[in-house]
């Protein structure tokens, strides 16, 4: 019988298939953070239960941590309470915690791979929709709600109906100016914001194989923005090369056994998918969103589209609403739109490769007068590595603020927010209304475009400078 990558990983984790109920799926790694866990721990204690597998659970602080003044107490009393709660819960239940200030602290989806905790063929969950990031390793990884966090803490399993399998095949090579971010924004444009609902996507094709692990993580990270619960990429030598030698990667004979297993994690040649879309990489250009969902994007060379050109009346209405919120007019060239703030960071684009790409653009240049520009590394380790390479000094010399690790302005929980009406070029994942602060207007871009935009003061690609 032929199987898809997704089936192979799924089938190996089915603990039980009760009649008339969804299968029970074993969870290999549970990532925990301060925002979606306190109510889960509370319910666990109230029902007299314990954490079943603290050894398969890891916690960090990322969503509402400050990115400046780490030497001072957290000013926001609510955030301070939430962070204290996580600390207490981890201590009580014996869970490893990479707390604020520790060298392994960082965005949950950056530290998992960095520590080698995300490996091919695993199931990984977290109370965060961008858990799809870990699918870049050929893991089945998806976001869950707080009740499910409680369920995994108590049982190390989830009751899950099996989703459908969708293939997104990207033929050809990415053009030189395009990055994984431009690719995934192009895919979501083709798929629509809900097009992946009910599905796990497998990304395939030459352009995907050609991506680094960082690029693959960017693509899988945004699967949820196309409505898919998870995205996966079959593991290969790029994956194994990234993993080898990392703290929690298997060593010695165990590494060899794991490799044998991991090499089998590919979709069989004649396997069929429930749905397939194809994207031609050669046709891509750097992408910029113009609206209030991640499917509403164009290329840097385009103008804001006329809502009348939308495919359905609902899409037209959504486009009209979005343009009103964004204060933009159809026909405006993307390069003519000025920005107030540039944010480089997040679980989508806050890894070392992203910071290098941005630094290469701003080196020897200056942030445009009046533009606020922030770099927020995805983890404390990414920050340390960037500083070792001198990237921090290059950013600071260009006029960027160099911050400590966290989710920061991606969702604006920690006070790093846009003011009402402010417009940003952001390397994050969501341009929803108010996502980066009430009234804020977000445009999603790649790190290279964000850096070029910071210098130009309006949307730009590095070649424009």
């Amino acid at each position: 019988m032929t199987a898809r990558l997704f089936d192979k990983v799924w089938d190996r984790h089915v603990v039980a298939s009760p009649d008339g109920e969804p299968p029970l799926l074993y969870i290999d790694m549970h990532l925990v953070h301060e925002v979606t866990s306190p109510q889960a721990f509370e319910a666990l204690v109230l029902t007299g239960r314990r954490v079943r597998r603290p050894d398969l659970t890891i916690a960090t602080m990322d969503h509402d941590v400050p990115t400046i003044g780490l030497d001072k107490p957290i000013a926001d009393p609510l955030a301070a309470e939430q962070i204290a709660r996580l600390r207490a819960n981890c201590a009580e239940h014996g869970i490893t915690l990479h707390a604020l200030g520790s060298p392994q602290q960082g965005i949950v989806h950056v530290i998992g791979p960095q520590l080698g905790l995300t490996q091919p063929g695993m199931t990984v969950v977290c109370g965060d929709s961008h858990t799809s990031t870990h699918g870049a390793f050929g893991a089945l990884a998806f976001g869950i709600g707080t009740s499910e966090v409680e369920h995994v803490l108590a049982t190390q399993t989830l009751s899950q109906a099996k989703p459908k399998a969708m293939a997104v095949t990207v033929a050809g090579d990415l053009p030189p100016e395009c990055t994984a971010k431009d690719l995934v924004l192009g895919i979501i444009r083709a798929l629509g914001v809900g097009g992946g609902a009910g599905s796990v996507i497998e990304y395939r094709g030459a352009a995907i194989r050609g991506l680094s692990m960082e690029g693959r993580m960017t693509v899988c990270n945004m699967s949820i923005e196309g409505g898919a619960r998870a995205g996966m990429i079959a593991p290969d030598d790029t994956t194994f090369g990234y993993l080898e030698g990392r703290k929690h990667a298997p060593k010695g004979a165990a590494w060899e056994r794991a490799l044998d297993e991991w090499r089998s994690l590919v979709t069989d040649e004649d396997a069929e998918f429930d749905k397939e879309i194809r994207v031609d990489a050669a046709g891509l250009r750097p992408a910029v969103t113009w609206g209030t969902n991640p499917a509403q994007s164009v290329t840097i060379d385009d103008v804001i589209p006329e809502p009348e050109t939308a495919a359905t009346p609902a899409a037209r209405q959504a486009a009209e609403r979005a343009l009103t919120y964004m204060n933009l007019k159809p026909g405006t060239a993307m390069r003519d739109i000025p920005v107030d703030t540039v944010f480089i960071g997040s679980c989508t684009n806050g890894r070392l490769e992203d910071l290098r790409a941005a630094a290469a653009v701003i080196r020897g240049r200056q942030v445009h007068a009046g533009v606020r520009a922030l770099v927020v590394p995805g983890s404390a380790l990414v920050k340390a590595q960037a500083e070792e390479e001198g990237l921090d000094q290059q950013f600071i010399a260009a006029g960027f603020e160099w911050r400590s690790a966290g989710c920061s302005m991606c969702l604006g929980m920690n006070g790093d927010i846009l003011s009402p009406g402010e417009r940003s070029a952001s390397t994050s994942n969501r341009n929803f209304e108010g996502r980066q602060g009430p009234g804020g207007r977000t445009h999603l871009v790649s790190p290279a475009v964000a850096a070029a935009t910071a210098v130009a003061g309006h949307f730009a690609v590095p070649a424009d400078l």
């Binding site: 050894d55 976001g143 049982t155 949820i224």
Partner: protein, 196 residues
């Protein structure tokens, strides 16, 4: 959690597609460590518009929200479900739901009633004509009615229906399989990562 068989009350119509969880409950509210008190933050930004549906007379008594396709997309925050419930909603009726939101709703006891696009349009039209009409969401029959004249079927899996109607403890359901979980754990490959 108590079970829910039949919901009867006012409905509010927010006919927009892709209503994301950042709109339902903005991130600033997620710092709370309780499950209650989120109703004040429900649709916080949109409620600043006096014309918004939730600001109309009687909306504070509503039990049913009718909305557009892909409701609840975006973040996994279950706080979105808690905010809807804290405001008073017991069911959301929409042509489709984002996967995580649907799961969170069923876990927390909010009924995600999926109707066809045409049915959603008919329900919206009936409510536009008579906003005060009682709406009934019958979880057992899987129907949603506006007054006596209009009844539409909705989709909800048998398993989800059972959990909602009985108000079951999901963890207890799973712990019936304790032996199978333990057996599975004994045969997991040794190379898998552990923090022990």
């Amino acid at each position: 959690m108590s079970g829910v068989q039949r919901i009867a009350g006012r409905a509010v119509v927010v006919m927009r597609s892709d209503v994301d969880t950042d709109q339902i409950i903005p991130a600033a509210w997620l710092k709370m460590v309780e499950r209650t008190g989120f109703g004040a933050g429900l649709f916080e930004a949109w409620r600043k518009d006096p014309g918004f549906a939730l600001n109309q007379p009687g909306a504070d008594q509503a039990k049913v929200l009718l909305s557009g396709p892909n409701f609840g997309c975006g973040s996994s925050r279950e706080h979105a479900v808690w905010a809807l419930q804290d405001f008073g909603f017991e069911a959301v009726v929409a042509p489709s739901f984002a996967d995580i939101f649907r799961g969170n709703s069923i876990s927390a006891g909010l009924v995600p009633a999926q109707v066809t696009d045409d049915a959603a349009a008919r329900l919206a039209a009936a409510l536009a004509a008579n906003p005060d009409t009682e709406v009934v969401v019958d979880v057992v029959a899987r129907t949603v009615s506006v007054g006596a004249a209009l009844t539409e079927p909705f989709q909800l899996s048998d398993y989800a229906q059972w959990r909602l109607v009985e108000g079951l403890d999901d963890v207890a359901l799973t712990l019936r399989h304790e032996d199978e979980i333990a057996a599975y754990e004994r045969q997991r490959p040794e190379y898998l990562p552990s923090l022990a």
